[in-house]
Each structure stands twice: as C-alpha cells, then as structure tokens.
C-alpha cells in the first residue's frame, strides 16, 4: 500500500513531470495526459482521507483538489483546439509549461500543512499566472498583467503580516497543530485573521480590493479565464477559510461578503463586455461563498457546493465566450445576437453556463445558495438575507437578460459553429454543473 503522503506528492509533482515534454516540443499532449492522471489521482485520494502530516487534506480540501484538477483537464483539452493555428508551436509549449506550473502551485497551496507555505503557494500562482494573461501580448493585456501583479502582490504582502502574527502567537505555522490547539481566541489572532481577509481577499476579489479581477478575467485568453475564475479564486478562498478557522471574526467577514455581492451585482448590471460581466459574476459568487464560510453550518456546505458547481459553470461560460470571441472578434455584447441560429452548441453552452453561475434550479449553485440562505434564516439574519436575495436576483436578471440577447434574435448567416473540442468542452462543463445540482437534490431528497 502506498503512503497517502506520497500520493499527494505525486499530485503536485505530476504537472511538473509533464514539463519534461517541453524539451521534445510535445507538451500539449503530455499535459492533457498529466491532467487526466491528476484527476484520477484526486478521485482516488478520497479513499485515503483524512491526511495530516506534510500535507493536510480533509474532505473539504478534497473537493477543492478535485475542482482544480478537473478544470485543469478541461482547460488543457480546450486550449489545444483554442490556440491551434493562433500560436506558434514554441508559444504553445510555453503556454502549457506555465499552465502546469500554475496548477502545481495551486495544488501545493491547497494541500500543504503549513500556513506560511500556503501563502507561498498563493504567491507562486501570481507569478505563474501573470504571464498567462499576456499570452496575446496586446497593449491592454500587458497593462492588465501589470495591474494584476502589482495589486495582488501588494495584497499578499498584507497577508504576509497575518502569517507573521500567526507565527508570533502560536510559534508554529503547522495547520493541523494550530487548529487542534484548544484556546485559540486572542485579539492578536483576530487582527491576523482580519488582515488576511484584506490580503488574501485581494486575490479572491473581495470588494474593495477586487479591481484587478475584471481586467484580468476579461483580457486573459478563455481557458486561462476559466482557470482564474473557476479555481484560482476558490483556492485563495480555501486558504482564507483555513486562516478564518483559527479565530473567526464572523461579523467582519459577513460585512465584506455582502459588500462584495452588492457591488459585484451593481457593476455587472451595466457591463457592455460579456467577459467582464462574467468576471463580475465570479466576484459575486465568491462573495456568496465567503458569506457561507463566515456563517458556517449549512452555510459552509453551501459555500463549498457553490464553489464546486461554479467552477464548472464559469469554465463553461468562459469557454463559450472564447468561441464567441474567436468568431465575432469583439467583446461587445451589443454587436452579437442570434447566436443560436448558427452556433447551436456554443449558444446552448453559454445559456446553460449562465444559468449555472446565476443559480437557476436545479444547477449546483442554486443548491449551494439555498443552503446559505437557509443558514442565514436559521441565524435570524433577516436583513442580511433580504439584501443578499435582492442583489443575487439583480445579478440573475442582468446576466440572463444579456445572455438571452446574445443567444436569441436575428443572427448573422455568415458565422459557423466551432468543431470538435471547441464545442464539446463548453457544453460538457455546463452539463457537469447541472449534474452536480441534480445529484445533490436527489441525495438531499
């Protein structure tokens, strides 16, 4: 029997081993193989839970690991068709090399049993993902990359203060050790958790530290946006959750979560660019997940379901956006309509994905949001519940109204549906999000 820690090592190392194929210029195919192995390994790891040693994996961590590995696989396959004929062989190899590093750093940040190294993992994702944003090397993408690096790095410096304070108080940074300490309540730790909210919150896209998020998501290539929105933000949220557990300042987290939902919903309601609109939708979903994490109980379960279902739904939305951008060469929503006439699969994927991310029943996000609302109700937080319901509804109407305008209408005869993986992957991602909801509803029933 192989030691569970070795399996987790393998999980992080597999994307790095794949990098060897860079030398033989066959990285894209090897990456898809490595991503498939990572998904298989992630599924198998469920039998080994819980793991505490060099790594720290609970069933919650496992959901995040599965999320990262699945979107890694989907993005690897989609990227191969998406960049075909658009990037040179060398540029494609460089792109895949960065994707592998990016995923390895995310997995490292998730599973490591040390707050300091978790921070290192998150910082490493900034380094590896920054260059992915500027794959197209347009002036706007360069500006966005710069903003991303500067804003997130400054945020993470704040998060580092929090790590220093945690070390100062506990004299260790081992997650399992700190979480098993009996008396964790102290003003200093509360300050540390609050600073972590600002610092790591920058990476999650919590209002008002979110300014890099819509820029980066809208300018990055579609498969990268899917990785950003689908799994990078949840990975950062997981690290914040681990810090939050030490000594939770619940009210503070609730305030920031609700502010994020409110402002994201307002911002997305007047967007003209569909990728930017989906970026704000990610922010709104992260706000919802943060709210679930803050209130705990069913809210926590709801938050994890929201994140899991959202990762596939949002990946589907960005993949279909990629197809649309490929075809129409514009991100302006007003220039696109009648997509369903000629691009049936892509438009179905787009519609299903927008249903998925806005929490239409029976999609997974709906189940998660329902649990968060139920917990708010149980805690008698009626005002908070009312505000959140109103703004979630606003986001729901804005996104689905805009998407339906893109999908339905007269249409342009000269456009054609994408072939192969470009149409299969977006639809599959949206359907997975639907299945998550259906399975959960059946289980709960």
């Amino acid at each position: 029997m192989i030691d569970a820690n070795v399996l987790v090592y393998l999980l992080i190392v597999l994307p790095l081993i794949a990098e060897v194929a860079y030398l033989f210029k066959s990285l894209p195919k090897i990456t898809i193989l490595s991503a498939s192995l990572v998904v298989a390994l992630a599924i198998y790891l469920h039998t080994e839970l819980p793991i505490a040693g060099t790594f720290y994996l609970t069933s919650i961590t496992w959901v995040f690991v599965l999320m990262v590995s699945s979107v890694y696989l989907l993005s690897s396959i989609y990227s191969y068709s998406y960049f075909n004929h658009r990037l040179s062989n060398k540029a494609l190899n460089n792109y895949y090399a960065l994707v592998n590093l990016f995923v390895a750093s995310m997995l490292f940040g998730l599973v490591i049993n040390n707050y300091g190294l978790m921070w290192v993992g998150i910082e490493a994702t900034t380094i590896t993902s920054a260059l992915l944003i500027m794959t197209d090397k347009t002036p706007v993408s360069l500006e966005v990359t710069w903003r991303y690096i500067i804003i997130v790095s400054v945020g993470l410096v704040f998060a580092f203060i929090s790590i220093i304070l945690i070390y100062y108080h506990f004299n260790t940074l081992t997650v399992s050790q700190i979480l098993s300490t009996g008396n964790r309540n102290s003003e200093l730790v509360l300050v540390a958790v609050a600073i972590a909210l600002v610092g790591i919150g920058t990476k999650i896209g919590i209002f008002p530290m979110h300014t890099w998020l819509p820029d980066a998501h809208s300018e990055a290539p579609a498969p990268v946006s899917a990785l950003f929105s689908g799994v990078l933000l949840p990975t950062a949220l997981y690290v914040l959750y681990m810090i939050y557990q030490i000594d939770p300042p619940t009210t503070l987290f609730i305030i920031f979560a609700i502010a994020t939902i409110v402002f994201a919903s307002i911002f997305l309601s007047y967007q003209k660019n569909y990728k930017r609109m989906f970026a704000y939708s990610s922010m709104e979903n992260m706000g919802m997940a943060l709210l679930g994490v803050a209130i705990g109980g069913y809210g926590l379960i709801g938050a994890i379901i929201v994140l899991f279902a959202h990762s596939f739904g949002k990946a589907g939305a960005f993949y279909s956006s990629g197809n649309i951008l490929h075809t129409f060469e514009t991100k302006e929503m007003s220039s696109i309509n009648g997509l369903f006439n000629n691009m049936k699969t892509t438009s179905s994927a787009l519609l299903l994905s927008s249903f998925a991310v806005t929490g239409v029943p029976p999609f997974g996000v709906f189940v998660g949001e329902f649990l968060i609302f139920a917990q708010l109700f149980a805690m008698h937080l009626y005002v908070e519940l009312g505000i959140v319901l109103f703004f979630v509804m606003l986001a729901f109407i804005s996104i689905n109204y805009n998407v339906s305008k893109i999908v339905f209408g007269e249409g342009n005869e000269s456009i054609h549906e994408k072939e192969g993986m470009l149409k299969i992957i977006p639809l599959s991602a949206a359907i997975i999000s639907l299945l998550i909801g259906v399975v959960l509803i059946l289980v709960m029933a």
């Binding site: 290192v120 500027m134 706007v140 710069w146 410096v157 580092f160 300050v191």
Partner: protein, 214 residues
C-alpha cells in the same frame, strides 16, 4: 535602553530616511541606489540581531536581503534602465507636495495602525519596545504611496521592493526568523526578475485605458 537597542533604533531610522529619499527622487537610478542602501541597512540590522539573539538564522536572512534585494534586484533594474533611456527620469509633483502627502499617508496611517491595533495588544518585540514596529509600518505605507503616486514600471517595482523590505524589518522585530521569511525574500526576487524581464520590457508607462473602465 541598551546600547545595541539604540544602534538598532538608529539604523531603523536611517532605513526610514532612505525610504523618504527614494520617494523624493525623480531620477530612477538614484531610487535604485536608495533601495540598495535600504536593503544593506536591513541586512545590518539582521546581523546585529543575530549577535544579540545568538541566532544564525538572522545571519542567513541578512545575507539574503543584501545579496538578493540589494544587489541582484538593483542589477536587474539597472540593466533595464540601460535599454530604455526614456526610463531615466520621471516627472514628479515637486518635493513639498510629495513630502506633505507622504507624511499624511505614512505617518497618519502607521500611527492609526499602531495605536488602534498594536497598542492594545500585548506584543513583545525582540528588541527595544513595540514602538520599533513604527519604522516598519511607515516604510510599508511609503512603499504603497510610491506605487500609487508613480506611473512608471520601474518606480512601481521599487515601491514594491520597499514594501517587501518593510515586511522583513517587521518580522525581524517580531519573531525569531522562521524559514518562511527567507522563502519570501527568495520568492520576491523571482517575481521581480519576471516583472523586470518580461513586462517592463514592453510596458513602460501605466495609464488608464478605455477598455478597462467600469
């Protein structure tokens, strides 16, 4: 206060002065020199703490800060500077207004953090009193102010290095340096190498873009 504590306070004050010096420079090369001086000062503080606390970890940290932050980063920035003569000088808003704004941002900001957050907590520092943390806070705010007020890639990198330096200073005063601080020093250099070699090469000024509004 012991003699060693007095020296550490004095060096910390010089570190803060170097932060003000960097802030007021319109010439990028002078700013880079300022960062070298600042990193060497932090390295010296680390060496003194190594002697004071008899800890070899501080020696390692000091060497890392001086070599990586002080020399490697400045070497990389200088190399970029040679390639782009347009980066030689940046127009600033004038010394009096910059100083005034920096005082408002740094001093007021750090005093609020210090008095409302740290003063109420029972924090013991490795040397002197908790007031020594003020140097780190002020430097952090000055670093952020440089990033906010300047539009040039180089100056923003320098602001970021200064902010990171303040973190190292704060961790020196708060905790017996764990492995993580050393990892951070190393990781930042990787970030900066990346930034300096890839982004800065193609994007020298940062202005608002119509596409990124809203």
């Amino acid at each position: 206060m012991t003699f060693i504590a007095e020296i550490v306070y004095m060096l910390s004050a010089f570190t803060l002065l170097s932060a003000f010096f960097i802030l007021l420079q319109p010439f990028i090369r002078s700013m880079i020199r300022g960062i070298v001086v600042q990193s060497v000062l932090i390295g010296l503080i680390s060496f003194i703490m190594a002697y004071y606390l008899s800890s070899i970890d501080f020696v390692l940290l000091g060497i890392l800060v001086i070599v990586l932050r002080g020399f490697l980063v400045s070497y990389l920035l200088e190399r970029q500077l040679k390639k782009h003569s347009s980066l030689f000088r940046e127009s600033t808003y004038g010394i009096p207004s910059t100083i005034l704004m920096a005082i408002v941002v740094a001093i007021v900001g750090s005093f609020i953090v210090y008095f409302y957050v740290f003063y109420n907590l029972i924090v013991t520092v490795t040397i002197g009193t908790t007031s020594i943390l003020l140097f780190a806070f002020m430097m952090m705010f000055l670093g952020i102010y440089i990033i906010l007020s300047r539009k040039n890639t180089m100056t923003q990198i320098i602001g970021y290095v200064e902010e990171e330096n303040s973190m190292v200073l704060m961790s020196i005063f708060l905790i017996p340096v764990p492995f993580i601080v050393e990892v951070t020093v190393f990781l930042d250099v990787i970030t900066l190498v990346l930034i300096a070699s890839v982004v800065a090469k193609e994007k020298l000024e940062h202005v608002e873009l119509q596409e990124l509004r809203g």
